[in-house]
Amino acid sequence: MNRLTNAAELQALKDHLVQTQDPNRPIVRVCRGPGCLALGADKVSQAFQAAITSQGLGVKVQPLIKETGCHGFCSQGTMVNVAPANLCYVRVKPEDVEEIIQTTLLKGGVLERLLYHDNGTRYKSEAEIPFYRLQKKVILKNVGVIDPSDIHDAIMAGAYQSFAKALTTMSPDEVIHTVGISGLRGRGGGGFPTGFKWQKAVESVRENPGPLYIIANGEEGDPGAFMDRAIMEGDPHAVIEGMALGAYAMGAHLGFLYVRHEYPIAIRHLTTALQQARALGLLGKNILGTGFDFDIQISRGAGAYVCGEETAIIASLEGRIGEPVTRPPYPSEQGLWNRPTIINNVETWANVRHIIDRGAQWYADLGVAHSTGTKIFSLVGKVKNTGLVEVPMGISLGTLVEEIGGGVPGQEHFKAVQTGGPSGGIVPYEFRDIPPEALKPESVGLQARESIPEKKELTVDFDSMAQTGSIMGGGGMIVMDDHDCVVDVARYFLRFLEEDSCGKCLPCRLGLKGMLEFLNNFSQGKGAPEDIDALESLGRALVDGSLCGLGRSAPNPVLTSIRYFRDEYLAHIVDHKCPAGVCRDLITYRIAPDICNGCTLCAQTCPQVCITGEENKPHTIDQDACIRCGACVDVCPVNAVVVD
């Protein structure tokens, strides 16, 4: 690769690459997102490679096999996209590869069998599938399209054009101003206006001259969230370009990519991308001949959830124990090595190039007032179409879960959605799309005492989510159905946070343990109704008293679930029943004699050997010996095991 010495050379390189590309050359894009990899995407792409290199195919133009980032539709993995017809094949297995080559690559036909189908309709391309149709891909535009380990592919797709544009035609202040008026807010969860933060850092440097550092926060520790991972794995240049733009705007010369150690592919792709960008002269000294110097180092986190907090990241980068310290002073005034430091989430950085490229107004028009642009969510849990979705801010929760997500399989509607990861809240179905006057506690049995959103439906943006007591967070959306117990869900998240609390301040270290104590009792049917109020009051003590965002937001799942599902808590404590049939100490398994066909599968599976019965005759469970593991429920072919 030759070093580019000016912006015109970058443009020339792009034009050259686009012109030399044969538009009719078949391209097979195999998704290598986390979901597809788990389903064997590696074998599928190997099978394609092997088939193409060994057979020679006898065609003029060899197809190109690309291993791309996440295509998003994780429940349908392994996903394979075949260009130029843009056919979208789902659930591809290595054995299907031969047929795809024969039918599609050689004859240009469509392999109906592997198309996505729903309700009798078969969809040929991504654009037709309802899951994709309602999305608006901006940040994820190149994820799943380009080969993340080839910078040329990224440049063809427009990477580094915004950087070149800013370097040659915009002043640093103009860049900050553009980001400011675009209304971009931090995507890590806090939602702080990015442009304002940048401006602050620049002012701090003016008062106190010296270096300024920028950091990309890729420590995405929330269970069930993989937005940042998809960007870093699928389009690493988006993050690098965003950081380079920020560095130019704020006059930084060194940036850090703080990536969690659990993301080895992201680290590999980012490392490759950095090397290639340096080789092309897009990073390093005298970038594109403008005299601007900037480089990025990768720093790996060691698996601490709390190191997603910005002051803890700084401590970790400095080599201290990853514990937060009190703000102020904010990192934008005094951060890494006591210098002004800007920490933005990976997704925030990835937004910047689109704002510079297409303008602040275009970006602001994408979302709603005060929450502009698009947001990536990882839609997981009890929803038909799980995966990664990018939608404009302000979309209604109902549209997101029921139309894009396809609703809950086998049930009329979802019960609640946990938004914003472990520190987020549980938002009930009632907030989906009914007018606020119907949201009075008596009409829907809600215990909502405080603010009820004064709008027709709950839209997904920073301020509306905050009104419900939840947070937007990083973008995890865990959908729950009637078989999920809110007490158990709150307990799960609290246990996660208790393990990941750094232990510095007393409310968080002792309080999370204490709250968990309450919930453990509830899940065993112990406790008194007053304990719910005590738990709420303890939760508020944590919100007020804790040092960092982890402790301050940790009670959210508990507080929101008490607020919206107090009935369910009472059912555990007063009636000693778990309505969802989850909490082990409060349920019993029973075999319905009229349904049981006596297949003996449950008796063979039971680890306690407490299911008895003759072949072809109804079985029974010995309740005293049963440990309620649920193995019989899972194996029963006729659903005869019922939960009481």
């Binding site: 310290v325 232990g503 040092l547």
Partner: protein, 212 residues
């Protein structure tokens, strides 16, 4: 930061519990309160070391215009016209819960029992795991050893709920000069019993320690 806007003013005027007070630039809310004999309880704060903000007993409610917030007074400097409340409901809620949890976490400490009783907390709903425990991991000893003595013989081990106060690698530390500063700053006297685990048996000391 009104004091910065107006270089003439050498003091910051604000109020604590309705009483007008003046702070010198650089003072925290806690220091101003102590100067004015207004009591705010603390466990981890010590004038000899940098405020660390771990015990959260010193929280106060601050109101500035329409905005209100609960903050640790040991870390936050006041601003002009700030209203500080040391005994409002959210503040007492935090203190009572922290003290109740401390009664379970450090049941052997008489100091904590006394302090808790002042806030009406005499029993705890939480299970006691170690009835002998006195250390609340406030960090005073670690800070004084590093900031004042300068030897770092003490450190925190593990993280989260398992956090412990210990010596590096959990062996008696030759860096310890046996000055006893950690014992003297300890708010509960937990280190009185443990000094030997820090410096080790003096007769068996090896290596290049300090004068022992």
């Amino acid at each position: 930061m009104s004091s910065l806007d107006n270089p003439q003013s050498e003091v910051i005027n604000f109020s604590i519990d309705g009483q007008p007070v003046q702070a010198k630039p650089g003072w925290t809310i806690l220091e101003t309160a102590r100067h004015n004999h207004i009591h705010i309880p603390t466990l981890c704060y010590h004038p000899a070391i940098k405020p660390w903000g771990s015990c959260r007993l010193c929280v106060v409610e601050v109101r500035y215009g329409k905005r209100g917030k609960v903050l640790p007074s040991c870390l936050h400097p006041p601003i002009e016209e700030l209203e500080v409340f040391t005994n409002s409901e959210p503040v007492l809620n935090v203190r009572r819960w922290v003290l109740e949890m401390l009664l379970a976490a450090v049941p052997a400490s008489r100091e904590i029992k006394k302090l808790a009783a002042q806030y009406g907390v005499t029993s705890t709903r939480f299970p006691i795991t170690d009835p002998e425990e006195e250390c609340l991991r406030c960090g005073r000893c670690v800070a004084v050893c590093s900031e004042v003595v300068g030897v770092q013989a003490l450190t925190f081990g593990s993280a989260g709920v398992n956090k412990t106060m210990e010596t590096p690698y959990r062996v008696p530390n030759n860096a310890c000069i046996g000055c006893g500063c950690c014992v003297s700053v300890c708010p509960t006297g937990a280190l009185q019993k443990r000094l030997d685990t820090v410096r080790g048996d003096l007769s068996r000391r090896t290596g290049h320690g300090f004068a022992h």
